[in-house]
């Protein structure tokens, strides 16, 4: 069974490919959705095409599948329209799967399930990364607010932070929001604050 993964996030495609290889599938190709990717796809004659549901290139792919004569058999989304739980899980995970007509659903289902698991795992990694990035930028904001307070009020770094924290607690706000407000106010007043 030939599986093509259309994905422009190198990392996610790799995560998915690894999982499929571990499960014993070895005819796997990754195609980024750029330029004439549908033409490449046609030459590969895949049995299953897996794609990120959020990819804007889905419309392009579907159009080409509709008008293309190069694919010998029609290709449709999902393998078994009656399996609503599977379809729901795939949509939640952000997987779209196009499967050639006639491929037995018992053969495709494990592929789809694996794709769903891997996409979910990838989403978790992604959100952890995003959180780490946010934490980093939060710290930068707080540092800047601290230095404004230190400069304008002649405070030590420790006292500046304590002031930020107590204002946040008194107002029931996150420290980073208070810090952001200080930076905005300072910018508005041309740094005169």
């Amino acid at each position: 069974m030939r599986i093509v993964i259309i994905d422009d996030s190198g990392l996610r495609a790799t995560v998915l490919e690894e999982g499929l290889r571990d499960a014993g599938y070895d005819d796997i190709h990754i195609v980024p959705p750029r330029g004439a990717f549908v033409a490449r796809l046609e030459r590969m004659a895949p049995d299953v095409v897996l794609m990120d549901l959020g990819s804007p290139s889905r419309d392009t792919l579907e159009e080409m599948l509709t008008v293309s004569r190069a694919l010998a058999r029609p290709i449709a989304m999902f393998v078994d329209q009656s399996d609503e739980a599977m379809i729901g899980a795939a949509i939640d995970a952000g997987v779209s799967a196009y499967v050639v007509d006639g491929l037995r659903k018992e053969r495709v289902k494990p592929v789809l399930e694996l794709a769903v698991r891997r996409f979910n795992a990838f989403a978790r990694i992604q959100s952890e990364l995003d959180e780490a990035r946010t934490a980093l930028s939060d710290r930068k904001v707080i540092d800047r607010a601290k230095s404004i307070l230190m400069k304008q009020r002649g405070l030590s770094e420790q006292d500046a932070y304590a002031l930020l924290r107590s204002s946040a607690m008194n107002q029931g706000k996150k420290i980073v929001d208070v810090a952001q407000a200080i930076i905005i106010a300072s910018d508005l007043l041309g740094g005169a604050l």
């Binding site: 549901l53 959020g54 419309d59 579907e62 159009e63 999902f78 609503e84 729901g88 949509i91 779209s96």
Partner: protein, 404 residues
Amino acid sequence: MTTTLRIAFLPLTDAAVLAVASELGFAEEQGLSLDLVRTTSWATLRDRLVYGQVQAAHMLAPLAVAVTLGLSQQPAALAAPYKLNVNGNMLVLASDFAKALEPNVKSRLADPLGTAHDFAAAIGLWRRKPIIGVVHRFSSHAIMLRYWLASAGVDPDRDVVLRVLPPSLMVEAMLADEIDGFIAGEPWGSAAVEAGLAEAVAIGGRIWRRGVEKVLAFRENWLSDNPDSTDRLLRALAPAAAWCDDPAHHGALAHLLSDPRYVDQPAELILRALTGNIVARVGEAPIENPDFMMFAREATSFPWRSQALWIYSQLVRWKMVDHSAENATRAGTVFRPDIFRRALADTNVPMPGASMKLEGALDLPLAVGSRRGELTLGPDRFFDGRIFDPERIEEFLAGFKSQR
């Protein structure tokens, strides 16, 4: 108790009514909370609706018809009781290509028929078969583009290449020379003009003066199982649409839509479609198009069955579906004026007395029968003067034979 409804949308200016209903308290007044799900492709929006991830969607009217007819992946009976807007797209072509057209952009836009013929003459002079981006096979704009091209004898399936791309990637594709122009909902045409890549060549509202665009689509079975939520949603959208139409609010609306959660483009670009002040060539004075995009006036949101049937007639014309009485009935009943009437019965929304009308018959504004309030329909002519009688689809289709 507040009911939460999930509604999928694409980042386009004509998602305005949903954003405003959600953000300015119109939904809240009806005991609703709207969870608006930003989606990048029409295929995903369709799947979210068909497979029940959302209760409703901001959908291309022809796509709702096509899904119901089983032409776009999993067939599902969809229902559209409310139109989110009328008009609002434009065709832009690479500045080099546009050199072969009428140089005075104001005259060019004012004369779609002449411009279509100029386009036809320019095809052979271009360095390749012109590639025009469309947002979906079943988009209002793709259908309008086909209509416009065919009027000058251009076969859209033979003489040009129509390439499907999501609206938000059109500008990038022009930059990469993958397409020679595109037709899409705003603000994407304006974005390409502003980037100096393209010029406006035709405006949707000048091709069909009251062209159907996006509808609010539901699954038919959800709609019949949830009459109360449906009605409350429509009662939230009607005043939101009136708010959007009010010129005094255009600035605030453009600002709201520029938010990354919605269109994520500069407010100044979004404003052009709202006010109808369209810049056709970068750096030039805007050209006034008062009905460039409409949300509420003239009963814009009323889902005339004849409009669903006009869409159907075009799908038949381009051989996307075979004509049969059964298909015509299914297509026509996607639009649900009955639900519109039920939901808005006790409001001050003007209510047309009929559910079908001739499309393209009005040259001048016309006061029409309305169950309540005054209702004047604006001119709704097609640029080629054709009139669509929903009772005589075959006759209408036969009139196009010479164009194919």
